[in-house]
Structures are given as structure tokens and as C-alpha cells.
Subunit: 338 residues, 2 copies
DNA sequence: TGCTGGCACTCCTCCAGAGCGAGTGCCAAA
DNA sequence: TTTGGCACTCGCTCTGGAGGAGTGCCAGCA
């Protein structure tokens, strides 16, 4: 086990390296931090930390930089979550309060996160599966053409065109609309399938086909659109990620374009706490030199979606975690209000 | 006026530079192109071209590279639009045909453009102002809370919450819904304001306030949401833009994040032909070292939106223009079908 | 008048070597 | 266990020289 002081040395190395972006040496450390020991002692400690794999030298006779393992220890044991200043909190609230609809909320959130952390922000739209139905609307655009509109409690709206084999009367339509709503409004998406299962049976023979089609489309919307949407912002911040350019940022940009990858990334975040994935802990290869900080957010006690940031492994973890957590909370509040 | 041969020299310089990314000298030119004259003659021509500002030397004793003015001449006079190969055309059609809804069409288009041109693609969603109303729906979510849903002929759906001061009866709601639709369905958005102007007058005194609120929200949606949406793809391709990295790409990424800037950029594209803005011709400073190729697309004879790509000034103009034009055409077809 | 070959000149790029200095590892002493 | 001392390593930077690509100019020729 590492002694108290050695942990302190590791913390100092991480902090300095995050600040300066340059390998940090023993002398500089003793000057900038009150460790109470001489450079020589620090050197010994560093040798141990290096043996254990927490820090590394880019080359002989250079300072040390933290390894992924070093950051991991730092995040787990040495660093807290830095709360935001109250002006920052107020700014967040003001900024988010101005949102007019769901798109706007997500858009503002992503910009806010990017600005606060100076990194790339990723915000997932509130998930369909975990939310509840606020309303289902059926419109006849033409005699045999319907539009299905689904409104969720989080303000999300999905629509689908439905071509029917046979014309569907206005009365039947109103009937179906009413029955559908009475069954599913306020219910969770996951429960909808079994709630509407027997609905076709209660209709006239001639309408049964159309009703079945409508229900099939509804269920399809629930399933297919569980393939979530997300929004990205602050991509310009990747220029801050490192100096060895083309090679580093290329794969990151590519990963950011693949929303599937990002969703998986966020998906790994466990609900209650915050998830931090450092460097090679990220499954996706292109993100091996980045860290991801993600957390769930929701209108109630349960998370309906995730948000987070992607940044260089040498990021300010306490600050980033603080910002991510704070933003998640406020977004949750906003969603609960609307 | 420049002689035929000098134009030919310029064309050769542009082509070689676009291919190699390196300043091209007189000797290399005569070797790679059948100009029928000696390097010395080419040197003289180059001196003239440089005097006129079409090419420049990065430093003495280096080859020449085209200036923005040189590219401009190349695009205007020397290069055509390179049509796509028929396998490419088929691939486009197949890829776009698989789209299920508007989001999907735009998403596929942007990916397609990025892949074909290996540059950053920008696609604007079909504009509200130029399209027509397919349907307006009003739902009562609560006694004094309505939802307005607007469906366009291009498949776009906009929704807005409306809080009413007084409860609004189901009968009045159905009435308003019916009257609204009978007036605006099939009409252009621009015409809606005057079409609904006198609508409140035909309602009972007690409902008049709510009707006015609803109409105001509707008009607001038309105006505010004319602030268009767009989608971007292929950002990873900016790594191809140049070698002097952080400085070049930073402002480009920033510009790409500001959708307002991009919309303005696309907005400058005139309807019928293609617009090419080269380097400093772009109003936005961050895009001074990029070129933008944009064109309108639409379901009918008129353009409902624009799409285009952003790339380095040293891009393959004929090829890019060909791809942009072809994609715009196919997207137009797809929209017309749905 | 326009094209061509020749030639001197410029100036970037690459490479090797030297000096510098930050930082280390080890050791002997406190 | 900590500390000061000291030799050593090795990347960074600067310098100078060789090489070479490319130019501009000039005189000759069609």
C-alpha cells in the first residue's frame, strides 16, 4: 500500500500536469507544493509510483506524467467533486430557464456543458422507454392515410405516417383515439404493448385490419425510436486535447460522429453516481486517449437519459465532475417543471 | 487578357496543387502536362500569372500555389462540373431510398455528401416559410393547457405548448381546429398570417382570448422556427484541411458550431445555380481558408432548402460540385415522392 | 515578337555536431 | 528514512554547411 505522502505526491503531479501540460519534475513539485520534504525524497517516491504504474516518463531525464492508472487512483481516492461557484450556478439556471421546448433544453444544455468544461459535451435526449405517454394523437390526412403523433411526458414528439389498406371512418378514428388514450396515457412506454394487446378485438371486423396496423406502428415507434438521439457541442474544444494533432483528433472526431458509439459510452454510466472512464478504459479505440465523464439525469427520482463530456485524459477531473453533476441536476429540474 | 496558354498553365497548376498539396514548379508542370512549350516559357507565363494575382509563391525559390483569385478563375472559366459515375449515382439513390422519415433523409444526405466529397457536409432542413401546411392539430393536454402541432408538406413537425388563461371547451377546440385547418391546409406558410387574421372575431367573447393566444403561438412558430435547423456531418474530414493544425481548424470548428453562421453561408447560395465561395469570399473570418460549395434543393421546381460542403480552398472543385449537385437532385426527388 | 537553353542566384530543407539544462538515479551521511 | 551531493542521460535548441529545387534574367534563334 502506498503511504500517505506518496499519494500526496501523486495528487501534486496530477494537478501540476493538468495545469501545465508538461512533465513535472521533483524540484518543481517541492517548490509548488508544501510537501515538507526535499526533492530527493520526492524522487524516491516517484520511483515507487512509477514501479507501481501510476506515473511514467516520456523519456529518460524528463519529468513524470500520470498514467491512466494514476488518474484512476486520483479520481477514486484523491479528488473530490468540486462544487460550482454560486455565480456559476445562477448562470446555469438562468440560461436553462429560457428554454422553450425540448430541443431547446437539450441544445442549451449541450452548449452550457461545453462552455463550463471547455470540452466536448454530449447530451442524450430523454429516452422513450423510461418515460410515460402524455398523449397519442391520430389524424386522418387522407381517407386511407393516417398520422400517428406520440407525445411524451418529457416533451418529446414522435410522428409516423400510416398507409391503411382500407378507408377508416372519422367515427372509428375518434373511437380508436379515445380508447387508445384512455389506456396508455400516463403509462410507461415499456408497459404499452400489453395494454393495447386486445384492442383490435373490440372493433368491427372491417376496421380491425387498420387498428392492427396503427398499433403495430405505435409499437414500432416505441421500439425503433429507443434507438436514441443525442446532441453534441463544443467540438472546437478538441483542439485543446493534445499537441500531436492530426493523429489524436482524427479518431476522436470520427467517434463523435458515430452516435451509436457515444450512446454506448453514455449507456455504461450507472444511474446513481457519476461514471468516469479514463483513457484505455473506454472500449472504443478512437477514444483511448480521452476520458469520459457521464451521469444520468431525470425529471423524477429516476434517470431518463444521460449526459456527459469527452475530454483529454489530462483534464481537471474535480471541476469537470462538478460541472457535469450540476448541469444534470438543473436539467432534471427543468424537465420536471415542464 | 490572359492568353489561352496561360490559362492552361493556371489550370495545370491548380490541378497539380490540388493533387499533391505542394507548390508546383515550372519543370514539373511541363513533365506532367502536355503544354508543348519549355519550362522557361512556363516560367514567363507564371511570372505574368503572379503579377495578375492568380498564383503566389510561399517564398522565393519555391513553386507556385493558386491564390483565391486563381481558384475563382479556375472555377468560373476553366473547370466544368464533373458528373458522377453511374455506380456512384446508383449508390446515392439506393442509400437515400432507404430513408424512413425526414430526419432520416437529412441524416443520410449529410453522411452521403461527407463520404462522397471527403469534406464537411451541411444540410439544411426544408424551410418552413417556403413549404405549405399539411395539417394543424390542437390537443387539450389539460383543461387550460393546449398543444399545437404543425405538420408540413415536407414531413416536418413542430409542436408548442400553450397555457391558456381560461379553460377551453372541447367543442370550441374542435371548432377552432376545424376552422383553422380549412383555412390554412395546403397554403404556404407565408400566407398564413393574413388567412387567420379575422378568426378570433367569429368566436364567442369568452373564447376569444384563447383563440388569439393560439393564433399568436402559431404565427410565432412560423416566424421563430424560420430560424432554420440544419445537420452537419463529416467533421472528421477537417483533419484533411491543412497541415498547420491547431490554428487552421479551430476557427473552422467554431464556425461549424454556430448554425447561424452556416445558415447565412448557405443562404447566400442563389437558387438556380451552384454557389462557390472561395477563401476570403466567405464573410465569416474563421472560414477564410476554406471554400464552400452550396446549392438549393427542393421537391418541386423551387428550392425549399440548401445543402453544401465546406472544404479546404485546395479542393477538387469539379468533383465536389458534381457530387453536391447530384445529391441535391436525388434529395429533391425523394422529397417529392414522400 | 515570342520561345528556348543556359546560368547565376536565392533560399528552403535536411543533417550533424555542440552546448545547455532539466531531471534522474545512486550513494554515503545524518 | 531522509537528505545533499554528484555523475550521467538525453531531449531541445542553435549553428553551419551541403544539397537541391526553383526562379529570374539574358542572349540567341525562329
Amino acid at each position: 500500500m502506498l503511504s500517505e505522502r506518496r499519494l500526496e505526491v501523486l495528487r501534486a503531479i496530477v494537478q501540476d500536469y493538468v495545469g501545465t501540460e508538461e512533465p513535472v519534475g521533483s524540484k518543481a513539485l517541492t517548490e509548488r507544493h508544501k510537501l515538507g520534504v526535499s526533492p530527493a525524497t520526492v524522487r524516491n517516491d516517484m520511483a515507487v509510483l512509477e514501479d507501481e504504474g501510476f506515473i511514467a516518463q516520456p523519456h529518460t531525464s524528463a519529468g513524470r506524467i500520470p498514467t491512466d492508472k494514476g488518474y484512476r487512483l486520483f479520481v477514486d481516492k484523491l479528488a473530490g467533486v468540486k462544487p460550482l461557484s454560486s455565480p456559476e450556478r445562477r448562470a446555469i439556471q438562468n440560461f436553462l430557464d429560457g428554454a422553450v421546448d425540448l430541443d431547446d433544453v437539450v441544445g442549451r444544455t449541450v452548449r452550457l456543458l461545453a462552455q463550463l468544461t471547455r470540452q466536448v459535451a454530449v447530451v442524450q435526449y430523454p429516452s422513450l422507454t423510461r418515460s410515460t405517454v402524455r398523449h397519442v394523437e391520430l389524424l386522418a390526412l387522407a381517407p386511407a392515410r393516417l398520422m400517428l403523433v406520440l407525445i411524451t411526458d418529457t416533451g418529446r414528439v414522435e410522428q409516423r405516417m400510416i398507409d391503411c389498406s382500407a378507408p377508416f371512418g372519422e367515427t372509428s378514428l375518434a373511437d380508436l383515439r379515445a380508447r387508445l388514450n384512455s389506456r396508455v396515457v400516463g403509462r410507461r412506454f415499456a408497459d404499452v404493448p400489453q395494454l393495447v394487446q386486445d384492442l383490435p378485438d373490440s372493433f368491427e371486423q372491417e376496421d380491425r385490419g387498420t387498428v392492427t396496423t396503427v398499433l403495430a406502428t405505435l409499437l414500432e415507434t416505441l421500439v425503433e425510436e429507443t434507438e436514441e438521439r443525442l446532441m453534441i457541442g463544443g467540438t472546437a474544444n478538441i483542439t485543446r486535447f493534445g499537441h500531436d494533432f492530426p493523429l489524436t483528433i482524427r479518431p476522436v472526431l470520427e467517434a463523435l460522429e458515430e452516435h451509436v458509439v457515444l450512446l454506448k459510452l453514455l449507456g455504461e454510466a450507472k444511474d446513481p453516481g457519476m461514471t468516469v472512464r479514463i483513457g484505455h478504459e473506454n472500449a472504443h479505440e478512437g477514444l483511448n486517449s480521452t476520458s469520459v465523464v457521464a451521469v444520468g439525469y431525470g425529471s423524477g427520482d429516476e434517470a431518463v437519459a444521460k449526459l456527459g463530456v469527452v475530454g483529454p485524459t489530462r483534464m481537471d477531473y474535480p471541476g469537470t465532475m462538478g460541472a457535469v453533476r450540476a448541469v444534470a441536476r438543473y436539467v432534471g429540474q427543468i424537465l420536471a417543471e415542464s
